[in-house]
């Protein structure tokens, strides 16, 4: 636990790490040739708030004799995994223990990739839930593509260390669902940091939160949209402007003739969606709402990366498969409003069986701590209706599939050599209700150890307010 202990107070490094570069490379509108400074032109910048995250110091670590669910191949029994320099160095049954590696006995235990939650409001709806920390919904306009969730994140939210203790290593923080277009998401590593930039996943692409259905029309009932038809016209009106803006800027960026067009923060975000650089994360419950969302996306030529909540995803599962849209779902939450009425526990399994990408998400700081249990519920409900989901496939619902939703499946989400060493050692079969995450590594550094409370991550807020987990008042 020395790792977590030393990481907590360390100040952010002054310069972005090299890994932050890919995002810039993805964005053609980045003004690489125009240096910022006095008198510089104001032009779009794909990464104005770059990550300052640096992995904690780590030692080479070998977990041996464990059952390993890699999320990229068959279950490995009596196998080992070697973490070195923040990456996975080797996975298999024939790994020679390196002399310099810390050796951890995994007998009777399971190893999985770090869990990834693609739908969270940690930090933007922090605990304790008080108005002063309620920063998740900019409910002043039904379309707010100009806001960025990272500017609302409170890094001292005590929900962060609790998520880590449950094996969650990467989360997407989204704005709330009050607005048709809610704003940009941010992808965070679940690590201690004094400021949010120290948690940002280097080089992760932005997402854009959009919302269907009841929430926007309820929140804006008096000024509009107050109906689903106005919801749809609202998206379209925004993207009509976004498309004009994209063309204007793309033209100027290619020929650099005359004054640059006027900048607009919201339209910049929409233009980046239209260029394919920002991933659309769309909150929709019903089959009709999802279909209309897909129609709007087709009309303007952008892709929906994932529907979120999607309690009726099972009704259009083959369409989601055909379009390559992931379905980020709960296992069994529903019924709380009309658009959630048709929730069924077999949703995940039916989406999976149709060949679409099934993902478990939480939308909740408590549910986030049991995503493995949600998988088990979904698998069991599939079995009830004759759908077999193997452990190899089931683990993907909370690892490589959400990694794809975030556009990070080349770096995290599976245990393969070269990938980031985000790893969980479970006390037992991870789909049993009795199993807990025992040890968690992020980029090869041990970030949580259930068996050793010393040096455990406590947020600034917790000091004095919240007793140490090992006792005291």
């Amino acid at each position: 636990m020395a790792a977590a202990c030393t990481r907590a107070p360390s100040p952010p490094p002054p310069t972005p790490v090299a890994a932050a570069q890919p995002a810039a490379a993805l964005a053609p509108d980045t003004a690489k040739t125009i240096p910022p400074g006095p008198g510089a032109l104001s032009v779009p910048n794909a990464d104005p708030f770059p990550s300052t995250y640096r992995p904690a110091p780590s030692r080479p670590t070998l977990i041996r004799n464990a059952t390993i669910l890699t999320a990229s191949g068959p279950v490995l029994r009596n196998a080992s995994i070697l973490l070195r320099d923040g990456k996975i160095a080797a996975v298999g049954t024939n790994i020679e223990p390196p002399a310099d590696a810390v050796s951890i006995d995994g007998t009777g235990k399971y190893v999985t990739p770090g869990i990834i939650d693609p739908h969270s409001h940690l930090g933007v709806y922090a605990a304790p839930s008080v108005d002063a920390l309620s920063d998740g919904n900019e409910m002043t306009n039904p379309a707010t593509p100009y806001v960025w969730a990272e500017h609302s994140v409170w890094p001292q939210d005590p929900q962060f260390p609790r998520a880590l203790a449950a094996g969650v290593t990467t989360i997407q923080i989204l704005p709330g669902s009050a607005n048709l277009i809610g704003g940009r998401s941010v992808v965070l590593k679940v690590v201690p940091s004094t400021t949010v930039r120290g948690m940002k996943f280097p080089g992760a692409r932005y997402g854009l939160k959009q919302a269907c259905g009841e929430n926007p029309k309820r929140v804006y009932a008096t000024r509009g949209p107050s109906t689903r038809m106005a919801n749809v016209s609202g998206y379209r009106a925004q993207y009509i402007q976004g498309e004009q803006y994209r063309r204007r800027w793309d033209k100027w960026l290619s020929d650099r003739k005359g004054d640059p067009p006027a900048r607009d923060l919201g339209l910049e975000t929409l233009a980046e969606v239209l260029r394919g650089n920002i991933l659309v994360q769309w909150h929709c419950y019903t089959a009709s709402d999802m279909e209309e969302a897909m129609e709007v996306a087709d009309e303007f030529g952008f892709k929906v990366r994932s529907f979120h909540h999607g309690v009726e995803a099972y009704k259009i599962a083959s369409t989601l498969a055909d379009k390559g849209i992931a379905a980020s779902l709960w296992s069994d939450w529903g019924g709380f409003k009309m658009e959630a009425l048709d929730g069924v526990r077999a949703n995940l399994a039916l989406v999976y069986a149709a060949g679409a990408r099934a993902v478990v998400h939480s939308d909740d700081g408590s549910g986030m701590q049991r995503l493995n249990q949600d998988v088990a519920k979904g698998v069991a409900a599939g079995k009830d209706v004759g759908i077999t989901v193997s452990d190899e496939e089931a683990i993907k619902w909370i690892t490589i599939n959400p990694a794809w939703v975030l556009g990070l499946d080349d770096r995290i989400g599976s245990l393969e050599p070269g990938k980031n060493a985000d790893v969980v050692l479970w006390s037992g079969y991870p789909f049993s209700i009795y199993s807990l995450a025992e040890k968690v590594w992020i980029d090869g550094a041990m970030a949580f150890d259930r068996l050793d409370a010393s040096g455990r991550w406590r947020t600034d807020f917790e000091l004095g307010f919240i007793p140490q987990p090992d006792g005291g008042r």
Partner: protein, 435 residues
């Protein structure tokens, strides 16, 4: 009549013809019927588990439980070999039956609306109970057989009842007992929104005093010669059995010091109380044990959701049990997932509550809390044949009930959710499951 060799739940989606006929037969009353459940691992709760045990049922009641039970020749047998047999799971605090769609007011009958003073002790939660709620079947199918239906909202919310999930159209038939408790909220944010702790306590004292004195003052009151009382007549009368110590008062309190206030209030007025919420109960476990006050406590949250719940930790139930407090496990009153209370029990086990105590926490402990342990909560001769045959550990996520008996009737049926799945289960024609 029973199909002992067929796992009902697993067949009902794929063999609708069989399912339909079974349902019809099972819907008949259990009159003059003898059923022997044999070969199972029986958890009577009142005594040690019995391997290869028998539960003998006649006319909807248990007549014998043991390893050497003589089985009458005319008994229908259910082979429970390799299965686990437990009392039906008791969800002690739910809005099941009084809430269908949370956001649709017309389906929500959880509490009294539109009364400003926060004292609605006369509100009877069971009068809003809807036996036709589709969520009842969803809940039965997960092995939940008995529910404490609790009112909510206001400072003194109203009166709770216990129903079993008999397959009945009649609320009266399903009702085991009412009222079983009055429900009240001592948290500073829950009721009288914005009131300080001292105000909330003083309000309780005013109301409880007036309730205690009301029988003596009734005549003055009727002649309009009484001073203004702190609550309506109906609410004071509803509180009378509480101040007489005859009816349980469940006080919602979270912060340790609020729980201590609840204990003090109980002492002042000689109340019989239980604590719900009880996030920081682990800090005052010894005091709760000494006062013999049971606690309804969750197992899922370790999140300091507000300044009253800063001490949230998931081994709360385990610490309380270890200190000698009677623990009932429950995580919130959501109707849609009233079925998930057994998973709360499982999570409590993962954080240190002994398994058999977790089973008690969702069977006999709530039954005793509400005074219905003569009917449910254990497998003992004389009690209702309200029990579940599981294909494994009832707390495990992969486990399914194969029979859910309420008063001897198997109540497993396709739920609304099962019908939706059947309608949309469009697998490829050659689908055989994936390796």
């Amino acid at each position: 009549m029973f199909q002992p060799t067929i796992a009902f739940r697993h067949t009902r989606m794929t063999r609708p013809a069989l399912t339909a006929s079974v349902s019809l037969l099972l819907a008949l009353p259990a009159a003059a019927q003898t059923i022997a459940i044999t070969g199972g691992r029986v958890f009577p709760v009142s005594s040690a588990p019995i391997e290869n045990g028998t539960v003998l049922i006649r006319d909807g009641r248990i007549v014998a439980v043991g390893a050497n039970v003589t089985i009458p020749a005319d008994a229908q047998r259910i082979d429970a070999s390799g299965k686990w047999v437990t009392p039906g799971i008791f969800n002690s605090a739910t809005a099941l039956g009084i809430m269908e769609v949370g956001a649709v007011q017309n389906t929500v009958d959880v509490g009294a609306r539109g009364k400003g003073d926060g004292i609605t002790a006369s509100f009877r939660a069971w009068e809003g109970f809807n036996p036709a709620s589709p969520l009842l079947q969803v809940t039965r199918n997960d092995g939940i057989t008995t529910v404490g239906v609790l009112p909510g909202g206001n400072m003194i919310s109203g009166q709770a009842a216990v129903f079993d999930l008999s397959d009945s159209r009649s609320r009266t038939e399903m009702l085991l007992r009412a009222p079983v408790a009055l429900i009240a909220d001592l948290t500073s944010t829950g009721t009288d929104r914005g009131a300080s702790r001292g105000e909330v306590l003083q309000r309780f004292r005013d109301v409880l005093s007036d309730a205690r004195d009301f029988p003596r003052r009734r005549a003055e009151y009727e002649r309009a010669q009484s001073r203004e009382l702190s609550a309506r007549k109906a609410d004071l009368e509803a509180l009378l059995p509480v101040v007489q110590g005859r009816t349980l008062l469940i006080l919602n309190a979270e912060r340790a010091s609020d729980i201590q206030n609840a204990l003090q209030l109980a002492k002042e007025f000689s109340l019989r109380i239980a604590i719900s919420g009880a996030t920081e109960a682990w800090k005052v476990a010894d005091e709760l044990a000494a006062a013999k006050v049971p606690v309804i406590v969750g197992a899922l949250s370790n999140i300091p959701r507000d300044f009253s719940t800063l001490g949230a930790r998931q081994d709360n139930a385990a610490l309380l049990q270890k200190a000698g407090v009677r623990v009932i496990v429950n995580d919130g009153t959501d109707a849609f997932n009233a079925r998930n209370v057994k998973y709360s029990a499982g999570v409590a086990v993962s954080f240190g509550l002994p398994w058999d105590e977790a089973l008690r926490a969702v069977t006999i402990n709530p039954a005793e809390l509400y005074g219905v342990s003569d009917r449910v909560g254990t497998l003992e001769a004389g009690k209702d044949a309200t029990l579940v045959i599981w294909n494994g550990d009832p707390f495990e996520l992969s486990t399914r009930p194969e029979h859910v008996l309420v008063r001897g009737n198997d109540v497993l049926r396709p739920s609304r959710q099962d019908e939706l799945v059947r309608r949309y289960r469009r697998l490829p024609a050659d689908y055989r499951g994936r390796p």
